[in-house]
């Protein structure tokens, strides 16, 4: 058997069920994919929403009060919470990646520890923001 055929026979566990239940992504992997997911939602819709909020809130005193009342709506609060989480996670994970680029904390132990820190810090910041909001 040629090596090319052997390559073809190699099993590929990329079915949806494999991705969901069989492949155990290590925590740094989760930090990485969540960095991508949070970046995508920050691009759209959250930047558009933030610009809408900034635009309206700065337009006039009445509009400022209108936006304040709008942000009291439960759905808007949930949106803010998701926004804050995405921002915090993207920022914390981004700082971690910048440090990794500079060869800081690239050994297995520190890399795992920093990925835990990213998850905990961004979730804690989001929880604190939620506490202030409700």
């Amino acid at each position: 058997m040629s090596s090319a055929t052997a390559k073809k026979l190699r099993p590929k566990y990329l079915s949806l069920s494999a991705l969901l239940f069989e492949i155990r992504l290590p925590l740094p992997g989760w930090i990485s994919i969540l960095h991508r997911v949070s970046g995508a939602v920050l691009f759209f819709p959250f930047t558009a929403w933030a610009l809408y909020l900034l635009d309206s809130s700065l337009a006039s005193a009445q509009d400022f009060e209108r936006i304040k009342a709008y942000l009291e709506l439960p759905l808007a609060k949930l949106g803010l919470l998701a926004f804050v989480w995405a921002y915090c996670h993207h920022l914390c994970a981004g700082v971690r990646f910048l440090l990794l680029d500079l060869n800081k904390g690239i050994e297995l132990g520190p890399a795992r520890a920093s990925s835990v820190a990213v998850l905990v810090v961004s979730l804690a910041a989001t929880a604190y923001f939620g506490f202030l909001l409700w």
Partner: protein
Amino acid sequence: MKRIVVGAHQGAGSWLAQRITAVVMALYSVILLVVFLRDSPATYGAWQALFAQGWMRVATLLFAVSLAWHAWVGVRDIFMDYVKPDGLRLALHVLVALVLAAYLGWSVEILWR
């Protein structure tokens, strides 16, 4: 030797730009956090006054430009990874560029009205 052509600079410029813009946005985030922690602009007067300052307008514009540049690299990376048909990918890249240009125009309009 046969070389796989992936672009003029193999993306090193984009890679660096994404990191520099990340640092700019991180610094702006710290400034904004300090502003909010010191004296949260909870009234229209305070909110309006914050964005009436020249340095705040320029800093926010720098943030907006950094965001557009950063997202241009990042969102393009996502499409390059997952969208295989060339035509669709090109269309999405154009869409991203238009959305980012619109964001920038909107930011300038908000900051200098």
